[in-house]
Every structure is written in C-alpha cells, then in structure tokens.
C-alpha cells in the first residue's frame, strides 16, 4: 500500500512580534504549535477551527508561503527540508490551492484563459497549441464553456470564478490541492455546485484535498479525516464519521453543538462556551482550552495533554482515557 502523499510531523510556526524603535522581539505568536497530520492519496483531510486556531497558517506552510519554525514535512515520503531546488520545484507543482474569495483570487487584468494556464506556462515549456488543448480540457473539466477563456474575470459570477480558480489549480495535475474556505464566500444556492464539483474531480483524478473551513457540515461532508484545531493545536483527529457523530474533546463537542441545525426539530445539547478565544500571543498554560472548558480538571491548567488514541480517533484531553 502506498504511504501518505503529504505528511507533517511536529509542524510549528511562531511569528515574532516586534515592537519599539529598535524592533526588539518582545513576544511570539504561537500560530501553529507542534501539529502532525497526514493526507493519503485521493483522500481529503478536513481542518476545522475558529479564527486564530492556525488553520490558515497550516495551509500556508503546506503551500510553502510560510517557512515553518520547526518540524518536518514529507512529500511522498521525502523530507522537504533535504530536497534540492529541482525536487522542491516538483513539490511546488504538485501542491496547488483554491482560496476563499473568488473576487480576490483572479487577477482582474488577465484573461481567464491566461489565468488558468499560468501555472502550466510558468513551469513547463509547451507549444501554444498544446497549451490551448489543455486549457480546453480544463474548462470542460470544471464545466465552463470554451469561450470563457477570452473573457475577463469581472464577467463571471462568484461561483463561476471559483470554477476558474479550480481549473487553474488543476492545470499542473497536482497531487494535493489546498482548499481554504472554498465555498464560504459563495451564495447558498451555489455552494452545493462547487462541493459536488470538487468531489467529482477527486473521484475522477485521484487528487488529495486539504480542506479548510469553519462550516462543520461542509467539512464533515467533504472529508475522510477531520482535524479539529484550537489555538494552534490539534485537539482531535480522526475519521470524519467517527468524529462528527460522536465528538470526544469538549471543544469539539461545543463546536458541533454550536453548529446550526438543518431542521428546526433537530435539537442538540446546547453547550455555550464562556468567553472568547484567547490571544495566541499569550495562550493559556496547560491545556489551552481549559479556561473555557466546562469539564476542566485541576491538572488541565498545568499539564498539557497529548494526542492519545481514544474510541477510534486521537484526542488531546485529560478526560481520556476514562
């Protein structure tokens, strides 16, 4: 059996905070703190969490837009740190992205055709006829008409733009696509179109997704595995069905109870968390969730829990094992 296509071990990102005239480093934002995960070929890892939990920073590290402070990333078993320039470029080609805002992710001054083939033209020297052929195939793949290629982005609606962004991400036939909130800026009636398209493309092309969203139902719907993050830490990681049907970590439970129902008769235990997410500048000691946790134990404020196996998933909580 083939191993994971992408693997992260103890990935950490600290941002220095500079203040004062001499720009002395006075603090660090612990955006992502020692997280590990892996994505299998053709599968989807969903990452959920609220703002400031580090999910976007994680995406940026995977996309090499941010240099990790420490930790290891392996691509198809090879350590990225030890890769030379050529293989690194191969990694770049294999990992593409679709972002949240379809209005910001397409250059308004370029024609749609050039936008879609830009990664292709940048990385491979192809004859223009071949580029055109691939362009048409990509447009067909995402369900856009041929003539779209000669238009500018402003002539498209949000949903169509997201299709363009997906076509662009697919142009290099990548192994992994990072999807950072790909539907949350879209109209409700369009979201299902895009989610279905993404699922169809995965089935057809065998591409892996790193799916980042705050919409739990969408993540549960799209993912094979779910990682729940809180203040830079993964608090629960496991099979999508297992985690979403019976969450174990108190934060995951609160998050799922806060998710909006799809039917008025759907009643969940209402767990209303007190307070707001603390600043990652000064995360709480011990378990970072303990000041808001309804089940906090004395040791939670001093001892940091590690991810341990519990009922078929990994949970970082002192409540387990029972």
């Amino acid at each position: 059996m083939a191993g994971p296509v992408l693997e992260a071990k103890s990935l950490t990102k600290h941002f220095p905070v500079k203040r004062g005239i001499l720009s002395r480093q006075t603090a660090v934002v612990r955006a992502v703190d020692d997280i590990s995960f892996s994505i299998d070929p053709g599968k989807t890892l969903g990452v959920v969490g609220e703002s400031g939990c580090g999910k976007t920073t994680t995406a940026k590290m995977v996309l090499l837009l941010e240099q990790p402070t420490s930790g290891i990333m392996r691509f198809e078993g090879q350590d990225l740190q030890t890769l030379d320039g050529g293989t690194l470029r191969a990694y770049r080609r294999s990992v593409q992205a679709v972002f949240q805002d379809p209005y910001a992710s397409l250059n308004p001054r370029m024609r749609v055709g050039s936008i879609i083939v830009e990664p292709l033209v940048t990385n491979e020297s192809l004859a223009s006829a071949e580029v055109r052929k691939r362009l048409l195939r990509l447009l067909d793949l995402v369900g856009l008409p041929e003539r779209s290629a000669d238009l500018f982005p402003h002539e498209f609606s949000g949903g169509q733009r997201q299709r363009i962004a997906i076509a662009r991400a697919l142009s290099l036939s990548p192994k992994v696509i990072v999807l950072d909130e790909p539907v949350s800026a879209l109209d409700v009636s369009i979201r299902a179109q895009i989610l279905n398209l993404l699922r169809d493309l995965q089935a057809q092309l065998g591409v892996s997704y790193l799916f980042i969203a705050h919409d739990l139902a969408a993540v549960a719907h799209m993912s094979h595995t779910i990682a729940v993050m809180y203040l830079g830490k993964i608090v629960e990681l496991g099979d999508a069905e297992t985690v979403s049907k019976a969450p174990k970590h108190p934060y995951t439970q609160a998050l799922f109870s806060a998710a909006l129902p799809s039917h008025p008769d759907e009643r969940r235990d209402e767990i209303i968390l007190a307070g707001e997410v603390p600043s990652p500048l000064a995360p709480p000691s011990g378990c970072r969730f303990h000041p808001r946790c309804p089940f906090a134990l004395p040791r939670c404020s001093s001892e940091e829990p590690t991810l341990l196996h519990e009922s078929g998933r990994l949970v970082a909580c002192h409540l387990y094992p029972k």
Binding site: L63, Q96, A97, Q100, A104, S105, R109, T122
Partner: protein, 300 residues
C-alpha cells in the same frame, strides 16, 4: 469570396467603432476639457505655423500696445504687446509648447521612477521598503517648490534642468501612492496563488502588480499635470525656471508685473488664464478618471 470577408471585416470594424468610442458618451465624460487639452497640444505642435510674429523679438516702438479691440490696439497685435514690444499672442502660442513639454515630460519621468520604486518597495518589503520609504519621507519633508528652487539655484535655469528638477521632486508622490496600492494588491489572493504557481518575483511584479496599479498611476499623473504646470510657472516667475527670452507663461507673468501698476491688464490676465485653462482641464479629466477607475482614490 475574399471580397466578402474583407467587406465583412471592414463592416465589423466600422460597426465596432462606436462601441470603442462609447466612453466619449459615458456618464460625465469631460468632453470640453479634453477638447481644450487637445487644442493646446495641437497649438504647441503647430506653434510656428500659427504664431503671427516671432515670439522672442519685439519692436520697441510698439511697447505696451493693448489688444486690438481697445483704443491704440492694432489688428497686427491682436492681443497686444509687452514691455519689449513683443507680440503677446505669439508668445502665448509658443508658451503652450513649454508648458506641454515640461508638464508631460515631468509626469512621465517622475511617474516611471516613482511607480517603479513604489512597486519594488511595496512588493519586496523588508529593508528595501524601509530604505526607499525613509528616503521618500525625507524627500517629501522638503517642500517641492523650495527644493526645486534650491536645485534651480545651484544648477541654473533651463528647460531641461527644470524638467529634471521637477521630476526629481515629483516622483515621491507616485512612490508613496503606488506603494500603498501595492501593499493592498500584494495581499490579494491572486498574488499568493501566483507564488504557489511558481512565478518569480519579477514576473509577479510585472504581470500581477503593475497592471493592477497602473490605473492609479495614470490618474495621479493626470492630476499632477496641473500642479507641475503651476510649479513650472512659479519657478519661471521667480526667475529660476525657464530662462528669458523664452516665452514661458510664468515668465510672461513676471514680465507683466512691469506693466501692472499702469493697468496693462492683458499682460497679467492672459498668460494666467492660459495656465488656468490648461490646469483646470487636466484636473477635470483627472477627476473623472479617478472616479471612473477607482472610487477609493478619492483622497489623492
């Protein structure tokens, strides 16, 4: 067969023409100011043909002659003569050349330098940005006009000097504004995606940043055109700009002072009106472009 294709191509070109020129009928297009600017340009180009007299040579016997419609005015000097008997109309016509050349050259040179520095500073960030912006700040801390006076005082007057001086002073505004624009464009996702696609910094600046800030540069240039013309007139008026006997409008105003207390209004009113007309037209056009291109630039 060929004929019909050619015909249809011709037809489609002709049919496309109205849509190409549709902006002329767009809401609020400043048609009259644009025509005025166009006329001034044409006058500047065809000055030797249009001017009835040599602008730099006067007849002393014809000093301070009023415009044709006043008593003592002659049809030969339709807009009168100055203190050296030079024809005011001819000087105004040739003066347009200086304003147009200085104005355009300054905004082009300053715009190119400032836009380039603004893009580099804004996109590369870090110490490059710090260095460029500190220099820009210090440069901005010196009032434009005074710096120009200082430079003019040490290098001496002359048309090319005045262009260099004003460009040296004016690039800072482009650098500031364009850098600000770049900072916001840089944070847009398409720039991040270009990095993910493997584009080089140079490609990103050229293909992704520049086309998205060029409109601001054009708007700024149009709005600065008027200010540059006023600055050039002011420097010439002070005697540190265009050297006499060249017929610059600012210089004409300085000469006009000699007849001011005697009430020779045409020497003061006419060159100033030319400056105002040109600057006003440029401002109106610039305002329209600003609103059309980007409502966020309202505070330029």
């Amino acid at each position: 067969m060929n004929g019909t294709t050619a015909n249809s191509r011709f037809a489609s070109t002709v049919l496309a023409l109205p849509s190409r020129l549709a902006f002329l009928r767009a809401e609020g297009f400043p048609l009259i100011p644009s025509l005025i600017l166009l006329t001034i340009m044409l006058v500047a180009i065809f000055a030797p043909v249009l001017a009835p007299h040599n602008p730099e040579v006067g007849v002393l016997g014809d000093r301070f002659r009023p415009p044709a419609w006043q008593t003592n005015g002659t049809a030969d000097h339709f807009l009168g003569t100055d203190h050296l008997g030079r024809d005011v109309l001819s000087r105004l016509i040739f003066g347009a050349r200086i304003s147009v050349v200085v104005g355009l050259m300054v905004i082009i040179v300053a715009g190119a330098i400032g836009t380039a520095l603004g893009i580099i500073s804004g996109y590369l960030g870090r110490w490059v940005d710090q260095a460029i912006m500190r220099i820009t700040d210090a440069w901005l801390a010196m009032p434009a006009l005074m710096l120009a006076i200082f430079l003019a005082a040490i290098v001496g007057p002359g048309v090319s000097n005045i262009i260099i001086i004003l460009a040296a002073v004016w690039w800072t505004r482009y650098a500031r504004v364009i850098r600000g624009e770049v900072l916001s464009v840089r944070e847009r996702d398409f720039v991040r995606l270009a990095v993910v696609a493997g584009c080089s910094k140079w490609t990103i600046m050229r293909k992704h940043i520049l086309p998205n800030v060029i409109n601001s540069a054009i708007v700024l240039a149009t709005l600065q055109l008027g200010q540059v013309i006023i600055a050039e007139a002011g420097l010439s008026f002070l005697g540190v700009g265009v050297p006499p006997p060249l017929p610059a409008w600012g210089l004409m105003l300085a000469d006009g002072k000699k007849g001011l207390m005697a009430g020779y209004w045409w020497l003061t009113v006419l060159p100033g009106s030319c400056i105002m007309l040109m600057v006003l037209s440029a401002n109106l056009l610039g305002d329209w472009l600003r609103v059309k291109f980007d409502p966020q630039l309202r505070q330029l």
